[in-house]
C-alpha cells in the first residue's frame, strides 16, 4: 500500500453532503449547519500506535474478493478496533471507529434509503460499547 488515505472518510462524507443538498428538508437543514465546517480540520488521529488511524485503504483491490466492504465509510475503522491487540492503541481505535460511525449517521441524515446501514451502525455501536466497558473500563450507565 503506497499511501494512506487519512481523509478518505471525510472526503466521502463531503461528497455525501453535496448529494444530499436539496434532497429533503431535514438533509438541507443539516447541510446548512454543516456548511462551512472544514472536515479536514476535525481532530481525527493520523496514526494510532505505529499504524495509520485508517487501517485499510479503500481501493478496488481490497474491496472485492478478499474482504467485502459493504460500508466503506466506517467498516474498516470498526474492524480495526475489533482486532486491535495493543491495549495502548485500543482506546484510539475505538474513538476512530466511533467518529466514523457518528459522521456517517450525520451524513445519512433522515433519508429513508439508509435504514439497513443505520441498523448496522447501531449494532456496531453496541459492540464498541461492550469493548469500552469490558476492555477499557468505562463505567456502566444503566445499573440504577
Amino acid at each position: 500500500m503506497s499511501s494512506w488515505p487519512i481523509t478518505t472518510t471525510l472526503v466521502k462524507f463531503g461528497q455525501q453532503k453535496r448529494r444530499h443538498r436539496g434532497s429533503s428538508i431535514a438533509s438541507a437543514c443539516v447541510v446548512k449547519l454543516l456548511r462551512g465546517i472544514d472536515f479536514e480540520e476535525l481532530p481525527l488521529p493520523l496514526t494510532i500506535g505505529t499504524r495509520p488511524a485508517f487501517a485499510w485503504e479503500v481501493t478496488d483491490e481490497n474491496t472485492s474478493a478478499s474482504h467485502a466492504i459493504k460500508y466503506p465509510h466506517w467498516q474498516r475503522q470498526f474492524e480495526a478496533a475489533l482486532v486491535e491487540g495493543d491495549p495502548q492503541s485500543l482506546r484510539q481505535r475505538v474513538d476512530a471507529a466511533e467518529s466514523a460511525l457518528f459522521l456517517r449517521l450525520q451524513a445519512l441524515g433522515e433519508s429513508a434509503e439508509g435504514d439497513e446501514e443505520r441498523q448496522a451502525i447501531s449494532e456496531a455501536m453496541g459492540t464498541l460499547r461492550a469493548i469500552q466497558r469490558e476492555k477499557l473500563g468505562y463505567p456502566e450507565w444503566n445499573t440504577k
Partner: protein, 137 residues
Amino acid sequence: MPAKRILIVDDNAVVRSLVRRLFESQSDFEISGEAENGRDAIDKAEKLKPDLIILDLVMPVMTGLDAAPLLKQLLPDVLIILFTQQEGSEVERLAQAAGIDAVVSKSQVASELFLKAQVLLASLGRQKDRAKFRNAS
C-alpha cells in the same frame, strides 16, 4: 441579549468538534469549554458556569447519568441535554430521574440538537420573565 454559554462534554474529540462548530456558527451561542468525562465536566462547570451543558452518556471515569445530578446541584439553573447514541424509554426514564432536561439521539441529524437547545433556552427565558413579573407585582 448575551450569548448563551455552552459546555460540551463527550469523550470523543470528533463529536465535540462537530458540536462546537454547529453552535459557534450562531451568534446566540458561545462555547465556554469542553470536557472529556463526567468528572471533568463537574470541574469545568464549577469554573465556567455555563447556561447549557451538552452531555454524553457513555464516558470513561463518570457517565453522563452520574454527572447530571451533581451538575444540577452545583448549578441549579443550568440546562442539560443528554446527547447520546443510546435510545429508548429506559434512557429517557433514567435521564429524567437524573434531572436532565432533554435527550437527543446521536442518530438524529445534528440540527435536532441545535433546535432542542434553542427551545429549552427560550423556555427558560420565559420562566425567568414570569418569575420577575410575579416578584414585581
